[in-house]
């Protein structure tokens, strides 16, 4: 039996495989395919204070080894979440993390306060990196001053574990990771999608209604891995890595580069069971390599080189 658990502060995760926000709905959509409670945690679809309709169609484009999306945080708002979704989520025997978004700092503060009252929610993932909304989102996460302000403000009102989700669309992601740590974040997760675009040459129009969108999938894995490696070396808080993880080997690359946990994203679209298969694959790898604890793997790259 290999040890797979990890902690963010005193919050215990039975294993380091989580699902990424926006790719796993509220978990409930996947109940037919897997036992969600086997996972270390799920990060549910990004939520806002008010209901949001999201962006017009088309919202998606397939690209080489990946996809662009421009969903734009479509969700029914916190009232609906508390009343209609939370009771079902509370039944999962795993950590449920809520990804929060806002146009203004006050939105984030109000949301964090309300999530703080929901006992079964283990942590907040502070989304300051969504590239698909006109106000807020990535605008917070690509400016050092506002990244600091929003992290500080949420930290002040939220007692649970705070994970800051970082944008890769910056010159030096380490600077933003350091800001999150300085302002009291318990963990950082990275990377959110890379800003990209695609043009349909038949119609001579952009493939997405918003022209630009967020790139995900294997296409971004090398970039994600590099950023996780840089950030993990610079911080003392745990780093959650994501970006194009399709199988256990991909996940192991992230652990070796210094991630304490991983999030499985776009892979769940192609195989709704991807997350549990990755978990099983990590376990087999550890057994095969003679490790008894996944901690032995984390950041091993830095010890070897």
């Amino acid at each position: 039996m290999v040890k797979l658990d990890f902690k963010i502060g005193d919050l215990h995760f039975k294993n380091p495989v989580l699902t990424a926000s926006g790719t796993f709905g509220y978990g409930l959509e996947f109940d037919d395919f897997l036992d969600v409670s086997r996972l270390g945690g799920i990060v549910v679809k990004g939520i806002t204070l008010e209901p949001r309709e999201g962006n017009p169609s088309p919202r998606m484009a397939e690209t080489p080894s990946g996809m662009l999306n421009a969903v734009g945080l479509q969700n029914k708002g916190i009232d609906y979440f508390e009343k209609n979704i939370y009771p079902d989520l509370a039944l999962y025997k795993t950590n449920v993390i809520v990804n929060i978004n806002g146009s203004y700092i006050d939105d984030y503060i109000t949301l964090a306060g309300r999530i703080g009252k929901l006992k079964k929610i283990s942590a907040i993932e502070l989304n300051i990196s969504c590239p698909n909304v006109r106000m807020g989102g990535m605008a917070f996460g690509t400016n050092e001053k506002s990244a600091r302000e929003v992290t500080r403000a949420v930290r002040a009102v939220y007692q649970g574990k705070l994970i800051v989700k970082l944008s890769p669309n910056v010159t030096n992601i380490v600077d933003f990771a350091r800001i999150a740590e300085e302002e009291g974040a318990d963990s950082v997760s990275l990377i959110n999608t890379l800003l990209g675009m695609s043009v349909d040459v038949k119609t001579m129009k952009p493939a997405l209604s918003t022209i630009t969108g967020g790139l995900s999938g294997p296409a971004i894995k090398p970039v994600a891995l590099r950023m996780v490696w840089q950030v993990a070396r610079a911080l003392t808080i745990p780093v959650i890595g994501m970006g194009g993880i399709m199988n256990a080997d991909d996940a192991i690359e992230f652990f070796l580069a210094g991630a304490s946990a991983v999030q499985v994203g776009t892979a769940s679209f192609i195989d709704p069971q991807a997350s549990v298969k990755i978990l099983e694959g990590i376990e087999s790898y550890l057994v095969e390599k003679g490790f008894s604890d996944i901690r032995e793997l984390i950041g091993l790259l830095n010890k070897v080189h």
């Binding site: 959509e29 309709e53 999201g54 088309p58 998606m60 294997p218 679209f269």
Partner: protein
């Protein structure tokens, strides 16, 4: 019916013409109970440029023989790869997905209108309607003779009316211009085809106060309502083609 992910065997790949083929699939376990209008998400192996699954509507189901048929149009590299599958090859699918066409009230006069690849779900629907005591008429539209998809199976369901845009077979023009619409009175129209055709049928139905359902096609990420990529603008806000559709009452669509 619970959704599942399963690898099925190709039992037949029947080429219909340059652009269309029918894959027949079968598996060890029993094909789940499916409703007309539902679709499957097909995983495409061996096509490096194809990252996501492809949503394909169910063309026919034979529970007795435990087979499922998909009528597919070659539209790009992914479907081109599918067209080369041979009996014995494996196809991984997620199914059954989406909602379904609604069953009409007893005694109603029903028309199935399809165009191009959109005729695919109408065979399964037609058989379902027949088994529930309805006698649907079928109106099929194609661009020209070359593009006609073999429709012998449809003749077993009901009377088939044909249009081609160039008049090379059947009536000339679009399905909405076929004289049967003037001579017969329909209570319901079920439609699937290219967007302009479905819009025209929706407009015709609305003008004549006929109940109309269409099955929409859309790019999809997951097919199970998780990614919210396949949004449709409706009177109830943005809905997902994959779980709230693909079948919509045309009254609800903001076209």
């Amino acid at each position: 019916m619970a959704k599942r992910i399963e690898s099925l065997n190709i039992t037949e790949n029947k080429r219909l013409n340059k652009d269309f083929f029918i894959l027949e699939l079968s598996g060890k376990s029993k094909i789940p109970d499916m409703k007309p209008g539902q679709f499957v998400q097909v995983k495409i192996e061996g096509s490096p440029g194809t990252f996501l699954r492809r949503p394909i509507s169910v063309h026919d189901v034979n529970y007795g023989q435990n087979t499922l048929k998909l009528l597919i149009q070659i539209a790009g590299k992914g479907t081109e790869t599918l067209s080369r599958l041979q009996p014995g090859d494996i196809l991984n699918i997620i199914y059954p997905l989406g909602n379904s066409f609604s069953l009409p009230p007893e005694g109603q006069n029903v028309l199935l209108a399809g165009g191009g690849c959109g005729i695919a779900p109408l065979l399964f629907l037609g058989k379902y309607l027949r088994s529930n005591g309805f006698q649907p008429d079928i109106l099929l539209g194609f661009r020209n003779t070359e593009r006609i998809i073999e429709f012998n199976d449809y003749k077993e369901i009901g009377k088939v009316f044909l249009t081609t845009e160039d008049g090379s077979q059947g009536e000339k023009g679009f399905v909405t211009q076929h004289p049967v619409l003037a001579t017969s009175k329909y209570d319901r129209i079920y439609c699937c085809g290219p967007d302009p055709m479905m819009k025209a049928v929706a407009e015709y139905s609305s003008k004549n106060n006929i109940f109309c359902e269409v099955s929409l096609e859309n790019l999809m990420g997951c097919g199970i309502g998780a990614c919210l990529c396949c949004a449709v603008d409706t009177v109830r806000g943005n809905l997902c083609t994959c779980v709230d559709g693909p079948v919509f009452n045309t009254k609800d669509l903001k076209w």
